[in-house]
Structures are given as structure tokens and as C-alpha cells.
Symmetry: C2
Subunit: 429 residues, 2 copies
């Protein structure tokens, strides 16, 4: 039974879109697997909620709704967690690692909140805990950061890491849709979920930023450290101005390692069209990295979807298989060996694009300039448009200023009668 | 002497641009190294040609011009080969691997020709032989292909993998320079070498294509399997047409795994501006990959230079260090477990952009169309311009045709009197 001993048995937790993709991809790749990683891979159990549900193409005898069938099965060496959410995923992963089983997961919510606990458990048990699929789907980013770019002091990681919002912003930019229309289109195509909050408010991207920043800067960043702001307030008018400024508007996850600590945030930004991230269209994702040796690098591809995500999961599984062959599991575990403070978002510096409606009367600009000056906000550019007899639209682009200075200035502007409305406050890269 | 035992000693072969970068980067990263990979890294010997040359910032006591000082030093565990060229690099690497020393190399010429022999030697000795820096400099591409994307059947790898030619083509496109002018500029800036042949004739890119294709398709492709064509014939006029067709012209390394074998070539191509590779400007490199699971992915960054290349080399060194810690060297070696035939370039299919000067008289187009039809070349588009009384410029874009059909058609066109000149033959992506 030589073949038997050369087979690694695995359990799948969850058989949704990604779980189904992983199941199919493992089967599709079975031919070359042993030659490539030294062993065959076999999914022998699949944990599902609903045993009654019809599942096309899946061997029904593998299904179970009992976690103990898996955790107590000593033959299972790898647990592939694709359920998502904090619990019961967290408990199951910890139990698996404590039992000496290796774990591959795509669970960004869990890792962004409890990564340290999970990686510690893996390290204790000399187990692999890999999660390439948790950030930017199919795009290789975790292994490149942990290994290929390990010789760098990475100072900046900027990503378009949410496909739904990038699709929406692309439609607004290229097809002149407004936000509601573009969101409806995204929902129709299945890019946006029934409740799109996590996507359009930047929460999903924020979790990925936490994970990437932790790896890039060797210091733990959790989701609650990440400032998040979504794209719901972006209007067609903002997009028009972006075009006029040779820029696009993208929802960016921004992580920087500065002298005064780590900055981590997600927010829409005006980005000049020559920046490599500016040409990332539709539901594609990309992560831009700056390191002191490599200079600029970018990783581009599909950030979600059945097979792109399965690609990352199966890559991880094959790495675990190689580690099993060479008995070196746990070879790359937590790389957070520093304890860098997180900078308060108030102290983060940004340029701002401000669009406001003001009374069309002499002295308004002088008045605004004084308020800004008082708050150390210096102005890089002013454009006035759409002036009627009573009112005009004023666009001001600031120099780099601290968030709290800008906030204070905007607060003071509100008390000035000739400023009718601050319509948009968008950061500029 | 705990510190001593926890230090991995290394030898550097070559102290040119990249060697100097690696030396400096290893020193710059010394602080976090042990925490990151479990050991300190120390370069204890450096092989150089000229012992007399003054070398700023390098400890002169490390220098030697004797290979035996290194190969016979049992304390040296890693040899970093950055001399380039076939010999003596090949002999030294083989001797190092046979002596149980791990090797990191950036030598594309050598690997594209003798990769199998080197990887076999590494495998025999359970040694690591890593060469991330040999393809696209600082851009992580080999590890992503071997590991992250291992779950894919990769069908296409297309790269802008030569910075010199991409810089020249960018200058021609954006600044309206002609080829000679752009080459002169590249030389002035140090992007082009005194003898630029290897760059502008596509040889350098061809070596990288051979290496990438071997890894992506799990089947050995050597440099002599790669068809190469350079950019010296590209004119400003071709660039003008590319713009008119919403395209750019890029020197692309193209590798495809088709049912009838592996295609591997390097040639200039018209590429639509919406393709992610089209926005890769100046001396930047990028590699675009299509896999059956991941769909499209792209890796972008600096393909050359002191520190970008050192970034890749040091990443490899750190991986060897981790393997030493876990005693799993040789964990990822040759992954060419298939033996796919190389397709004759004559049988490769491409679209073509053809620019020709023809007599301005009735029936010429019909005549050309007949020749093309006789050779199974179908025409997608025809544009006529610059017509004088005697002569006109005709641009024909073909559908996808076999290389040899196009070649035969062009040969026959030469015997037709009303065709004055075929000025350009450029493939279209």
C-alpha cells in the first residue's frame, strides 16, 4: 500500500464558494501533485452546517456536521478552515493546532483580530499556520513579504484590497455612474453582498491592512488599530475633479512604518494616474510595497472569487506538504519580533482635497485661508467653479497636514456663515 | 561563545554592483536578522579579480583572489555567486554544491543554459540552490511561481524583463525620441552598457524567459529554445501607429504552454493600453502570469540595480538560513517533473502589424490580399496613409496566423513590383 502512506489526508471546514473551489482544485491537480510536493493530497472529511443540502460533484460520504469527527481523526494532518467569522473557527483552529494538525485558513476577520494567539499556538505545536488567501485572494503577497522581500526595511504598503469597492469606483469613473447605481450594478453581478457594509465602509480592507502591516513591519497590528472610512460619500462631482487633476479615486489601504510609529488606515484617495495602482480596474486588487532595497514593487491580481482564492489556499497546502516531507513544519511562523507603537490617526499626515460651497462674495477665500493658516494647514491649490450670483464651488487642495489640524480647521469653518457646505473631504496620495 | 555558533558564515563571489549591494544590505540588516531567521549572517570571504582595487566601505581583510580559500573553508555554509557569465561561475557553483555548501546566485546566463545540471547537483547534496535575483531583479517571481501559484496550471507568462529596452521604448513613446536617441539617453544614464547588444537584441530577456518558462510549466526550457528578436527596427512611425491603435509597443518575453508544446520567445509587440503591462514605464519590469485558478496576476518592480537585485539575493540567503535552522535544505529544488516538447517557432501563432510602402495604383490591395489569402493569412484591418501620387503607406493588421504562413506570404510579397518596401513587421498581443 505504498500509495496510501504517501497520501496526506486533509479536512475541509466549510463548503461555500471558496471551500468548493479548493475541493475542485485539489482534485484537478491530483495528477502532478506527488511529483511536485512528494505526496498526494486527499480531502477525507468536510465539515458542513447542513447535511441535507445537495452539493454537486462532492462525494457525500465525506460530509459531516460533527467537529469531533475531524479533530479526533488522527489520520488528518491538515485542516483547511474556510468558514470565515470568529467563532467557531477560532476554537477549531486552536484545537487543531494543539492536536498537532497543520492549518491553512483564508479567514481575514479572525487573523486580523487574533493572529498572535493563532500563530503562538502553531509555534508551540511546531505546526504550520498559513493564510496567503486571507489577503488579496489569489495574489501572492504574504510569502513575498515574509520571504522574498525579507531583506528590506519596508516602509509603506498600499493596497487596493477590496474588489467590490474598486469595481464601484471604476464604474463611477469610466461609466459616469453615481455611487448608488454602481453599487446596484455590483450587487447584480454578485460582486457586492446583500449587506455590503463591510466592503463599502472599508472594514474588509481594514482587516487586510492589519494583516499586511503586521507582516511588513514585523510588529502586530490588529483590526481595531486601523482607521477606516468608506466610499459612500464619493460623488460623481468628486470624480470629475479627480479627472481634471489627472487622477483617479481609489479606496486604499495605507500602512506606513514611520519614525513615530505605525500608521494604518483605509480611506478613499485621489491618486495620480501615473501611479501603478491607478490602472488597477474593475474588481482587481493590487498591493504596492516600498522597501529600502527593492524600491517600489507591486502585486496585482484577483482579490476574491472561487478559484483565485482556492489558488492561494492550495499553494499553502502544497507548502505544508513540502514541510511534512522535510519535517520542517513551523519553518515560517510569526515574524512580529518588534513592538512598534501604533500612531494615533490624529497625528497622521495627509494632503486633502476639499470641495465646498461658499457665498460668492469678496473676502471668503481670505477668510478660509486665515482659518487654515491658524491651524497650520497650508494650501497648495485653489479652483473655483460653478459660480452663480450667490454661490460658488471652491476646491482647495492642501499641502501635507496632520489629520487633527485639518479636522480643527474644518470645525472652525463650520461656524463661518459664508461657508454654506463642506461637500467633500478626500485625502490625496 | 553563543553568538559565534549562531552565525552563518558566507562567501561572496564577485564585488561588482550587485555584490557590493549585497555586502551593504547584509550589514544594514544585521540587527534584526537573528530574530527573523534564527541566525546572524556574516560574509567572511569575498572573491575578487583584482586585489589592488580600492573598495570603499569593504573590510579589505575579507578579500581573496583564490577560490580554494573559499571552497576549502569548512566554516563557510553559503556561497553567493554574483560574478555572472558561464565560467568560472559554473565550476565554482558545482564545486560548492558538491562540498555541501548552499548557493545563492543571480546568474541568468548560467541558469538559462545549465539550470538542470546545477539543480541536480544541489539535489544530490541536499543543498539549496536559489536564484530569485536571476529573473526580474528585485521582483519576487520565482518563489511565487514555485510556491504561491503551485496549485495552478499556468498557461502563460509574459514579461517586460529588460529595463534598458523598456526605458528606450518609453522614451520613444512619451518623448518622441527615435531609437538611436533613446539608446544614447539610456547609455548616458547608465541603463545601457557600452555594448548594449544583449539588451536591445532581446538576449537578456530571452534568458529570463527560459528560466521562468521552466518553472511555470514544470519542464526544462533553455535559452537556445527561445526565439529572440530585438527592438532596433522599431521606428517613431511604428510608435505613432501604436498610439493611433490605443496601444503601446513593448519588448515582451512570451512563454505559453499549449497543447502542442511550449512556446518561448522575446519580441516587440503592440499591446493595448488597457493591458496591465502597458502601463509599465521607464526601466521598471513586470511579469504577467495566467493560471487556470488564479486567472491573471502581475508582479511589478525594479528589474535591475544594486539594491533591488540585492533585495532578491538577501531574501534567498535568509531562506537558506531558515532551512539551516530547520535542517530542511533542498526543500524546494528543481520542479521540472515534466518533459513537454518545445514548439517550433514557425508553428507559433501571432497577430501581426505590417507597415509597407506600396505603389499608389488600383489593384495593389487586391494583390496583397490574394497573396495573404493563398498563405492562410487573414486580414483584420487595413489603414492607408501618406499617399502621394506615386506611393502610399499601407498598414495591415492580420488575424492570428502561424509564423511560417506569414513568413511565406511576406517572401512572396517581395517579388511583387508594386510593393516597394515592407517597413515593419511587429507582432500584436
Amino acid at each position: 500500500m505504498e500509495n496510501k502512506t504517501n497520501t496526506i489526508k486533509m479536512a475541509l471546514l466549510g463548503l461555500g464558494t471558496v471551500g468548493g473551489g479548493v475541493y475542485k482544485l485539489i482534485q484537478r491537480r491530483s495528477d502532478g501533485m506527488e511529483k511536485n510536493v512528494g505526496a498526494n493530497l486527499e480531502i477525507t472529511k468536510i465539515l458542513v452546517h447542513n447535511m441535507e443540502k445537495k452539493r454537486e460533484g462532492v462525494d457525500a460520504s465525506l460530509l459531516t456536521d460533527q467537529w469531533k469527527d475531524i479533530i479526533e481523526d488522527d489520520e488528518i494532518q491538515i485542516v483547511i478552515e474556510l468558514m470565515g467569522g470568529i467563532e467557531p473557527a477560532k476554537t477549531m483552529i486552536l484545537e487543531a493546532l494543539h492536536a498537532g494538525k497543520h492549518v491553512v485558513s483564508a479567514n481575514k476577520d479572525l487573523i486580523a483580530a487574533h493572529g498572535k494567539e493563532l500563530l503562538d499556538a502553531a509555534e508551540e505545536g511546531n505546526c504550520d499556520f498559513l493564510f496567503e488567501a486571507a489577503v488579496a485572494g489569489g495574489i501572492p503577497i504574504i510569502r513575498p513579504l515574509k520571504q522574498c522581500l525579507a531583506g528590506n526595511e519596508i516602509t509603506e504598503v498600499i493596497g487596493i484590497v477590496n474588489g467590490t469597492t474598486n469595481y464601484i469606483l471604476t464604474k463611477m469613473f469610466e461609466d459616469h455612474m453615481d455611487f448608488a447605481e454602481a453599487l446596484a450594478k455590483a450587487t447584480e453581478l454578485g460582486y457586492a453582498e446583500a449587506d455590503p457594509t463591510a466592503d463599502i465602509e472599508g472594514l474588509d480592507a481594514g482587516r487586510k491592512v492589519a494583516i499586511m502591516a503586521s507582516i511588513a513591519f514585523h510588529s502586530r497590528v490588529v483590526f481595531s488599530d486601523v482607521y477606516t472610512e468608506g466610499i459612500t460619500k464619493i460623488t460623481s462631482r468628486d470624480i470629475e475633479y479627480a479627472k481634471e487633476f489627472d487622477s483617479v479615486i481609489k479606496l486604499l489601504g495605507v500602512a506606513r512604518n514611520t519614525e513615530k510609529g505605525i500608521e494604518a488606515g483605509v480611506y478613499p484617495m485621489l491618486l495620480h494616474k501615473d501611479h501603478p495602482l491607478a490602472s488597477v480596474r474593475d474588481s482587481f486588487n493590487a498591493v504596492f510595497v516600498h522597501g529600502d532595497a527593492v524600491d517600489d514593487a507591486m502585486f496585482y491580481g484577483r482579490g476574491a472569487g472561487e478559484f483565485p482564492t482556492a489558488s492561494a489556499v492550495v499553494g499553502d497546502i502544497m507548502d505544508v506538504a513540502r514541510n511534512l516531507k522535510y519535517q520542517c513544519n513551523g519553518r515560517i511562523s510569526c515574524t512580529c519580533y518588534r513592538d512598534t507603537p501604533i500612531k494615533s490617526f490624529d497625528d497622521v499626515k495627509n494632503k486633502f482635497f476639499l470641495r465646498m460651497q461658499v457665498a460668492n462674495e469678496p473676502g471668503v477665500l481670505a477668510c478660509i485661508a486665515k482659518v487654515f493658516g491658524d491651524h497650520k494647514v497650508s494650501i497648495a491649490r485653489v479652483v473655483q467653479k460653478n459660480a452663480t450670483k450667490e454661490q460658488a464651488e471652491l476646491v482647495i487642495v492642501t499641502d501635507v497636514v496632520k489629520e487633527y489640524h485639518l479636522k480643527d480647521a474644518l470645525n472652525e469653518l463650520q461656524s463661518i456663515e459664508s461657508i454654506k457646505e463642506v461637500s467633500s473631504v478626500i485625502r490625496e496620495y
